[in-house]
């Protein structure tokens, strides 16, 4: 009940209705940071992982990267980069991109590796070029795992984009940090709930993508 009254206080506060500190503006900022970071991470990691999965090499490297990714404290990296380099949004993006890459690499590599070798042999037997094999056989068959990797990356990026406010940039983390500094707990609760909801929405979006994009033939198994 307590939480609900804090939330009502937050949503009723006129400061957050319009202007740069409005809820809508903070959500847009948050989505913007997350989407840019996810796009860069995907652009780097996805082709690499498709390549390594297709060639069947680099198992050890990929799992080592996954371990490093889990152990990396993104807050520490973010703070270090912003103290060492100039404060800019680019600097804020670096930890987010680095955070998103390991799950994409790991899941895509594993997904392509797990494609039934008989299907790949059949594609080769049909005279498909390696590019056609990747695009028409391996990629669609590995899609559930590829999407799982993207989902894991996206949720972590959306969650961690909150930390951009520490450095200090915008996004929903702004409410949490400002609320903590101003002893305004309603603002903290508002920010925390909004960012949690955004993460759950991200999960939902990827669940829908999975329903829409994955071939029905793969689901019946």
């Amino acid at each position: 009940m307590n939480l609900l009254s804090y939330l009502r206080q937050f949503f009723d506060n006129p400061n957050f209705q319009s202007g740069y500190d409005s809820i809508w503006n903070r959500i847009t900022e948050h989505c913007e940071y997350s989407l840019i970071a996810l796009a860069i991470a995907t652009a780097i990691a996805l082709p690499l992982a498709v390549l390594s999965g297709h060639s069947g090499r680099g198992d050890g490297t990929v799992s080592a990267i996954a371990v490093i990714g889990r152990a990396m404290p993104s807050l520490g990296l973010l703070v270090l980069l912003s103290v060492l380099l100039n404060l800019s949004l680019t600097v804020t993006m670096i930890p987010l991109v680095l955070l998103g890459m390991p799950p994409i690499l790991l899941y895509t590599h594993a997904g392509i590796r797990a494609v039934d070798p008989a299907a790949v042999d059949a594609a080769r037997g049909l005279g498909m070029t390696p590019w056609q094999t990747v695009r028409q056989v391996e990629f669609p068959a590995a899609l559930p795992l590829i999407l799982a990797g993207l989902r894991s990356a996206a949720v972590q990026i959306v969650a961690t984009a909150t930390l951009a406010a520490v450095v200090p940039f915008g996004g929903l983390g702004r409410y949490i940090m400002d609320g903590l500094y101003q002893y305004d707990y309603a603002q903290v609760v508002g920010g925390a709930v909004l960012v949690s909801v955004l993460c759950l929405v991200t999960l939902l979006v990827f669940w829908l993508l999975d329903r829409l994009l994955v071939s029905p033939g793969l689901r019946s198994r």
Binding site: N2, L3, Y6, V67, R70, A71, M72, P73, S74, L75, G76, L77, V79, L80, S82, V83, L84, V155, V158, A159, T160, T162, L163, V166, V167, G173, I176, M177, G179, L180, Y185, V188, V189, G191, A192, V193, V195, S196, C199, L200, T202, L203
Partner: protein, 217 residues
């Protein structure tokens, strides 16, 4: 050498104090998660119907940002170690529950039947047959959970002085002291690697047969 580990006056504990808080909270949370995950995983592997909803629930919990959960729990536990401890334990479930279930599923059916045939009771079968065989899979999950707890805990620095080495990140930012941030980052990484190594050692000690098998074959 001593100057590197000397903390400035605005850090409220010594270097060793940070190490002990970091280990106590993140490993304690992982252990609590394990104690919870063992019965949950056992239930899910005995009643497979429960596994998808339980897995969905822990995944849902895991996707709540740590900073958000920490600040929401300030209302419940105040600014204390518990506020950091509880989310870390909950997050570890998302790694440990699948670890326990996969581990128990990796026990061959015949082995369970053989134990039953030898007249083992349920508890004895679980402790002396199923658990040891599930151990390699289980320990892999425990290692991942411990390492990610160590790094997740650093976010606790944002809600006060409860982030272990994470405290150094925010203090380093506010006082523009990059030495503190370096010390925090490197210490955290070294601690993660050491934890992983120690847990590997524990696994080797607990599964002596795996070693002898490897040396024979």
């Amino acid at each position: 050498m001593s100057s590197l580990f000397d903390m400035p006056s605005y850090v409220q504990s010594s270097y060793l104090g940070l190490v002990s808080v970091q280990l106590e909270v993140s490993l304690g949370a992982t252990l609590t998660g394990l104690v919870l995950a063992l019965p949950i995983g056992q239930l899910c592997s005995r009643l497979p119907r429960f596994y998808p909803p339980v897995l969905g629930l822990v995944t849902l919990l895991y996707s709540i940002p740590s900073l958000a959960l920490f600040v929401l729990l300030i209302d419940v536990f105040g600014e204390s170690e518990t506020t950091v401890f509880v989310p870390l334990a909950l997050y570890s479930l998302a790694i440990l529950v699948p670890g326990v279930v996969d581990g128990i599923r990796s026990v061959p059916r015949e082995v369970v039947d053989a134990a039953d045939g030898m007249g083992y009771g349920r508890a004895r079968r679980y402790l002396t047959v199923e658990l040891p065989i599930a151990l390699p899979t289980l320990m892999a999950a425990v290692r991942v959970a411990a390492v990610s707890s160590l790094s997740l805990m650093s976010i606790g620095g944002a809600i006060g002085n409860y982030g272990g080495f994470g405290d150094l990140f925010l203090l380093g930012l506010h006082f523009f002291n990059d030495r503190l941030i370096w010390v925090g980052l490197v210490s955290l990484l070294v601690l993660s690697i050491l934890c992983d190594l120690v847990l590997r050692g524990v696994q080797r000690l607990l599964t002596p047969w795996a070693r002898s098998l490897r040396s024979v074959g």
